[in-house]
Amino acid sequence: MGSRGWKAICVAGGVLVVATAIGFYIGGWATSGPASFTPASQSSRSVNLTIQTVAAIGPKLSPNPSWVSYLIRDNSNQWRRTTVWKLPAHALVHVTLYNFDGASGLRNPFLGAPQGLVGSERVDGKVLTAMPPDQPSHTFAVPELGILVPIAPVADDAKNPCDVAPCQLSSDHRTITFTFRTGKPGHYRWQCFVPCAAGWLYGFGGPMQSLGYMDGFVNVV
Amino acid sequence: MSSFAEHSTDYAVVESEPPEQLGRNLNTAGHLLASATAFFFLAFVFAYFYLRALNNAGLWRPRHVNPSLTLGTLAIVAVVASAVLIRLGLMDHRAGRRRQWRLKGWLALGLAGVAVALQIAEWATQGFGPADGGYASVYLGWTGLYAVFLLAVIYWIETLLATATRYRKIESGAPPAGHASGDSHRTGHDIHDPLSLVRPSLEALSFYWAFLAGIGVLTWFILYIL
């Protein structure tokens, strides 16, 4: 019984270790996601965000190099791939967005007009009221806050297109500026409404259904 | 004595199974497998009529989606002929004409292979692809998976022929122990004579193959004639 007892203890211990390992592994995987980014703000009433959209994220920033993605410029002026942003409540957020991607086109043309902004959306300085459905490259939309920003595309025959993120402003791009107001504290998802995930059915797979690419959270605190 | 011998079954104590047990099992399994097969292809029958009735986006069957009736018909004729040959082979086997059964068996095997080859030839020459609407999807899925079933039956026929050929010279009586099973340590087995090696499986095959050929005819009727 003695050696059998030891054997039994070893078996039970082994099972316990394996079970704990499985538990930790699943738990660790389940909580993995893009890291949260908090922009340095001048005051609690106003925040500046600089973001860019690229046609392909490239191998340096993601294991899925061909996916479309948003990037954000962090406080040390580096481009980072995270789409979870922490913003102060009831603040004005001034966004400068550089788009390096071409046109994809909307499925629902209704989503081609900006909504819910403070002031108006400007594309390369010009006010935008609505965009024809074949134009938008992406949208920045926070449905719970009523925000929708269609993003103008880079022309198909651009001379100096940017292939892989992070893109520099020397490449052909469009500059979109807009301002929105964050509301009450809460977790607000944001997403792109343009079916821009080329190759997936109805353009809504991969990057369109993965946090860190075309989807994210605006965590208002 | 090794631990194996200590714990192995003592066949002197344990009575052997009745010889007809294998036949009963295979016969039941053949029928059950046929019913499962029927439900499998029922899904495709349903898909055919459902998508045809809906004709979503007008893309049920664009005009150029038109597989060759000749090749399809030839393939099904080969399938039916093969099933008939297996049936005739079974009758030979029952009557003790083992040579004739083997002959018909090899022919049936060849015909089933021809059916698969014809089907492949049809896919290669049909001039439309899987992305060409509802009919193209059902047609390719159905014929493709039917071909998989054909390959399974080809395997089944081959195993029977291989066994029949291996024991063609033993007229009666059980083969020596350890010889028949391929397991050298085996002490006893329920093989009584060379006929019992083939007959139960052949009975089940004959039924199943006829059933599958019937599904083949249905396939042909729905996909080519309707």
Binding site: G105, P132, P143, F193, W200, Y202 | -
Partner: protein
């Protein structure tokens, strides 16, 4: 084996059965009306529309039939598990009763009657006006009278709404006029969604390429919650919204305001249709 074989050996104590049935009938008579009344009070989706009230009424019916069934089980098990427990440590067998045809037939008749009652009543309720459920492109249960058509478009991941009688106006908000019969046309542009207007008692799946019609007769002004009730991808859980039922005059004003606000984009909208085929090519853009 199932034949009636009343045991002669085990001394039959007829009072067990009678006691149980008596207690059950008494409990049912007292409790069923109370439970049904309570169910009418608490069972959602409330009384804000004709359809919602009907569903509550239907639920009350089911509760009315279910309560005696549940009470029978509870009474039976309380009684049996206490009275017929093995009292001593010794392992002894009970009476070898193998069946009773009368009990079996009675049981079959009663359960069948209860089931048929429910099915008949449910069918009657359903055929009135569809009970708020999506009925597909060719509804069988159509309420009479004039109806305001409103299209619900599901897309990943937001509902938008079109009002064909107001020039095909499209908006991200659902506002409806009070005291009107509404004809909802639910469709999708990509995956399957399900439009669930909880307080209205409406649920209809949004399928790409399909026009799913549901009817609802509104009462007085109120607000209601909208959820997506079919798993549609990443943001399924965030696909919710609040809708409003407003007075007829407020509705007219709201329509005017929306038409003005979305005037710039309305030129790009496609003609109103029963459904919109998304992207016939598999590739986007």
């Amino acid at each position: 084996m199932a034949a009636a074989a009343p045991s002669t050996r085990a001394a039959r104590d007829p009072s067990h059965g009678r006691r149980l049935i008596g207690a059950w009938i008494l409990l049912s008579v007292i409790l069923t009306p109370i439970v049904v009344w309570l169910a009418g009070k608490v069972i959602p989706p409330g009384n804000k529309t004709h359809q919602a009230s009907e569903q509550v009424f239907d639920n009350q019916w089911i509760v009315a039939v279910s309560t005696p069934v549940a009470l029978l089980m509870i009474a039976f098990f309380l009684y049996t598990l206490i009275v017929f427990r093995a009292r001593d440590g010794e392992l002894r067998d009970g009476p070898p009763i193998r069946g009773d045809a009368r009990i079996q037939i009675t049981w079959i008749v009663i359960t069948s009657a209860a089931v048929l009652t429910l099915a008949v009543f449910g069918t009657y309720e359903l055929l009135q006006n569809g009970a708020g459920g999506g009925q597909g492109p060719d509804p069988v249960a159509v309420p009479s009278g004039s109806k305001l058509p409103v299209q619900v478009i599901g897309q990943q991941w937001e509902f938008t709404y079109r009002y064909p009688t107001y020039g095909g106006l499209e908006t991200p908000h659902l506002v409806l006029p009070a005291d009107r019969q509404i004809e909802l046309h639910v469709t999708s542009l990509d995956a399957i969604h399900s439009f669930w207007a909880y307080e209205l008692g409406v649920k209809a799946d949004a399928n790409p390429g399909v026009d799913n019609v549901a009817y609802v007769k509104l009462k007085s002004p109120t607000t209601f919650h909208i959820h997506c009730a079919e798993l549609c991808g990443l943001w399924h859980g965030y696909m919710f919204d609040t809708g409003k039922v407003v007075s007829q005059s407020d509705f007219a004003a709201w329509i005017k305001q929306q038409q003005a606000q979305f005037q710039p984009v309305s030129q790009y909208l496609p003609r109103y249709a029963r459904s919109y085929y998304p992207d016939p090519q598999r590739r986007a853009g």
